[in-house]
Amino acid sequence: MFREKLTTRKNLEALKHEIDLDEHKLSINEVYRRYGTSPAMGLSEERASVILERDGPNDLTPIRRTPEIVRLAKNMFGGFAMLLWIGAVLCFIAHFLELYTLDDPQYDNMYLGIALASVIIITGFFSYHQQAKSSKIMESFKYLVPQQACVVRHGKSRNINPDKIVVGDIVEIQRGNRIPADIRIIRAHGLKVDNSSLTGECEPQVRGIEYTNDDILETRNLAFFGTFAVEGSCIGVVIRTGDKTFIGRIANLTAGIERGHTPIAVEITHFIRIITIIAVVVGVIFCICSLFLGYTYVEAVVFLISIIVAQVPEGLLATVTVCLTLTAQRMARKNCLVKNLEAIETLGSTTVICTDKTGTLTQNQMTVAHMWFDNHIIDSDIDAFHTQSNYIKYSHCWSALARCATLCNTATFTDDPNNLSKPVLQRQCEGDASEIAILKCMEDITGNVSNYRSINSKVCEVQFSSSNRYQLSIHSTDDNDERYLLVMKGAPEKIIKNCSTIYVDGCEIEFNQFWKTQYETAFKELSNHGERVLAFADYRLPLNKYPRGYEFDCDTINFHVNPYFEHFNFPTDGLRFLGLISLIDPPRVNVAEAVQKCRSAGIRLLMITGDHPLTAAAIARYTGIITDQDTTEQLIENVFDNNARSCVIHGSTLKTMNSIQLDNLIKYHQEIVFARTSPQQKLIIVETCQRLGEIVAVTGDGVNDSPALKKADIGIAMGITGSDVSKQASDMILLDDNFASIITGIEQGRIIFDNLKKSICYTLSSKIPELSPFLLYMIFQIPLPLGTIAILCIDLGTDMLPAISLAYERAESDIMKRPPRDAKTEHLATDRLISMSYGQLGMIQAGGGFFVYTIVMAENGFFPSRLFGLRKSWDSRSINDLEDSYGQEWTYEQRKALEDTCHTAFFVTVVIVQWTVLLCCKSRRNSLFRQGMSNHVLNMSIIFETLLAILISYTPYINRGLMMYPLKLHWWFLPLPFTLLVLIYDEWRKWIIRKYPGSIIDQETSY
């Protein structure tokens, strides 16, 4: 077993390394040679079956899942439940001890045992149910696997089950297919793949046969298992199958990662430890006392068990679960869907957020940011445009640029009246992201693009391809110019080569060195903003050479077969340079504010993105993740300077760092942007943070993010753009993909931590009034003032709703302005909380209870003096004539009826004193008058618990079942002085705390 664990751990370590793949760099023939295949014939069936035997089927090995029963058992026996189980077992032991040794055994311990067991089982099933929804990681990967795949074997193409595919197979992929394995592309026709399941970037990417990048995700000639061919078709040779594929490795990595305990689980363990220690110590002390008092050993053991069990907070497990569930629901309403209840609090104690860029911080929608023409950079913000509209209206340059941008654009609005009636920015479009951005911008500024396009009809076009990196089209114009207009758009360095003139202030002048420098400056500035820059140029084709009706030939080139062949029957140089338009995926509106809030809440933000460092840095600046004013180059150099505040680090640099350097990097830099990072690196970054004791939240949307999401203390997936896998691997889903929603989550997480403290303080305060009757019964031998059933009525009945209602309590101060909880020093339950709850609030309650007990006894004839030492006679069935202080003689049954009445009165007293205890628990420092009574759930819960107490004591049959008796009306008012005392004492205490911070009261009673 150990060995098995060891090997899986080793495998996991291996998976954390980058995928080792060089097929994209090799020539295609070398690839064929490596896998012993040929593009025309494919593999032979025999060979394929041999390889299949060797490599195994092409599917994702399901990880050995924890059997459902084990998971259920974990919920039933983990942490708090274990404490309750021990309590329940002790109860049964005590019961059997009594059963065999006493003539007249009571069934209290058995009832208590049964109640405890039921509580555990019910809450166990509840949290199991909550968890069951969120453990389908491997299932979610299954959706990525195609149903059918077309392979070439023996020179014939045939459909086979994709799990039969082996390396070296030649596969044919049509539009709409899922790619059945990792392939090197041999031939492609306008292929575009949707890599969103891998990277989370939903823009379909062009794939072809050319090797364009060292990075395997970037290079054009690879397509990956599980991605989707949205356009075109291709043929490829399979280079990886099954678990060795890119996604297979991630799937295994994700499924293999085990996460540590959540902070709240750690806190609850700590709490259990305190409670257990107190219970055992008190139990042992009184057990020894009882031996001195002359009880037998068996009795002493039964007392010991009873005392220990009496201190188990039965209702608390349910309270905590319900509090967390309620918060989860509240968060769901604010677009945070919480899958793992404990994660809610984790978010509150988060110290570092590793955030993705695309889609989380940004809108994931390309938008025109700036334009450069007439040697001016103009902000394309619509408002800015309108203020400058006069200038623009009369600028010839602008109109030329706008014409070019409008015409040299293949994007269109989806033709649907409903869609067209929407505001421009929200309309559905078809086409490439940057083209859509330009289309929207033009529609917004000039209006009616489609009309403009139809009157300037397109004669011919050359589509954008990765090899030529421009696109052009030729139009007949409506401006009474007979000449055809050639418009061109593309990568600036490409366009600039083809231009000989530049259009400035309505004059076409030579594109000389001065203007080139001007252009360079503008280009640099724009790209430093992280913007994608496109250049625009046009050219009037001379009428004599290209008269109307001239046959433009664009089809002679086929980029996908031979990209370097460029020969048109019209010129593509000597163009007139018009200007630049820069695009950016802009940050979401409220992200900067959210980042600011995170900062003031003491949370560090690290940006981890697959994007280019410049773009990443620009967005980081926009959103305030980087506050340093240094240039990006400077920031990149900052990596090894431990004094620098911010830095930008490239994935390739990160790859060379060892763990100590990584530790230093994260320790010394407050603001870090990780650019061009791989999924494995993302995971390593998260691990490094955790090693440094940080509590890490990770946001992500792609499959590539899922290992990090799983590893993080809390993984946050995106609801709209997120892949299923990432959603399954995460604990929380942002339904609106908006980073700002995380802030809500953090706030709720912090509130719930505070409120759980209050809840615990409230719940524990009734433990003393529950325990002390038994102790006094034991030591002073008085008739038992409070029975086990009444205790259960308090713990599982009247106390439940008020304790839960504290979850609705609003924060006392601005919790988003203080640093996150220090997991080492700030605990859920502290000795001060216990001292306050047990020693102070609990004692006042117990005082009230004993007072009412005494009065009920006295008014029925038993004076306090008579009660001492009465226990034995009182509980003896043989004595049928027990005399009270007035000489009346009580039969056993009559005494027991009186005792039950006392239990009821004690119970009611606890309920009534708990009114103000609840009010006191509302705040930890603030006066009740400042905190207010606006928590209506809490107000209702007070009424509810009172009604429940009335119901329990007055309803026939119910009161008989619970061994309660109706009370005289005035007994209900007896506890009121104690109720007031609680309020007065606590207000005084809080006043002292506020007035004299650091005083003994503050030190010992503020929790």
Partner: protein, 319 residues
């Protein structure tokens, strides 16, 4: 290969064990540090100064709380009526939902031996000295003492409402209440309830137990074996009541009711009772006896021992 894996496994177990030990050590160290921190002279996380401050705080707190409790309690106690409880009869818990106001019966002698509970068993032995152990002899003495003790109240002749049974047969201190010769006298009395007056019954003829007592004046009291077997073993029973002796039923006169609480207690109220003497009990058999009282407003309940009482008799040796 096999060996290799084994060694690997062994190492990992050892590693695991070392891990385990180091964690335990760490925990113990933290615990030790918590209990007594030498650096800061702290016991359980607080130094002497803080502990004494805390103690002082709690001392003040509990003094105030205790004072409040006592004050409040003394106010309420002083408001309590002097001679009878605030709630009597149907207002008090003597009446509960399944228990209409009815007095129970009780018997004497009722004692406990050593640390044991009070018993409902009366165990006798004859005065054949040779076969007797000291302890059983003691038991008889204890019964006699118990009865003497109880009857002391009745010697006070100044009481206005004296209760005396003139014909008591063997059932007096001089004759050791019949205990020495195996004919025990049991004293059956009705529980004192303030304000309670039993109503003389129209005798219910249908009840066999009760029908025996037809013709007995006042409130009849009758003891029988709990079951048929007990009844057969029980032998003859003689009742000595205020109104005379009978071998069928005893009786209690209602003139002794009601009990008026403390006012009467000062005058030493003498509760009415009946002597029941068992003449010839079958020895070596545990006999369960149930005595009942019959009145219109006394509701019988065997389990709750309302209007009834059960006790056991055991005779050690045939006399």
């Amino acid at each position: 290969m096999h060996l290799k894996t084994k060694s690997k496994q062994r190492r990992s177990i050892r590693e695991w064990y070392q891990d385990f030990r180091s964690t335990i050590n760490k925990h113990l160290h933290t615990l030790g540090n918590f209990i007594y921190n030498q650096e800061h002279y702290e016991i359980f996380g607080r130094d002497g100064k803080r502990w004494s401050k805390l103690a002082a705080f709690y001392f003040c707190f509990y003094v105030v709380l205790g004072g409040f409790f006592c004050l409040y309690l003394s106010i309420f106690m002083s408001l309590l009526p002097l001679h009878q409880p605030r709630y009597i009869g149907n207002d008090s818990r003597l009446t509960s939902r399944n228990n209409p106001l009815s007095p129970g019966l009780s018997f004497r002698p009722q004692t406990s031996f050593h640390l044991n509970d009070v018993q409902t068993l009366i165990s006798l032995s004859s005065n054949d000295k040779e076969n007797q152990k000291e302890s059983t002899n003691d038991k008889t003495e204890i019964y006699i003492k118990n009865l003497d003790e109880y009857l002391k109240v009745y010697n006070n002749t100044q009481s206005s409402k004296n209760f005396t049974i003139h014909d008591v047969g063997d059932c007096n201190s001089i004759n050791h209440y019949g205990y020495k010769n195996g004919k025990p006298c049991i004293l059956i009395k009705i529980n004192k309830l303030i304000g309670f007056i039993p109503e003389v019954n129209r005798t219910d003829v249908d009840n066999k137990h009760e029908s025996e007592c037809i013709g007995i004046p006042n409130i009849p009291v009758r003891c029988m074996g709990e079951y048929l077997f007990d009844q057969e073993m029980l032998g003859n029973v003689i009742y000595y009541s205020e109104s005379g002796s009978s071998d069928v039923c005893g009786s209690i006169d209602i003139k002794h009711f009601p009990y008026n609480g403390k006012k009467n207690r000062n005058n030493v109220y003498q509760a009415p009772y009946v002597w029941v003497q068992f003449q010839n009990i079958t020895p070596y058999v545990l006999i369960s006896v149930e005595c009942r009282i019959f009145a219109a407003n006394i509701f019988y309940d065997k389990i709750a021992q309302r209007g009834s009482i059960r006790f056991q008799l055991y005779l050690n040796k045939k006399i």
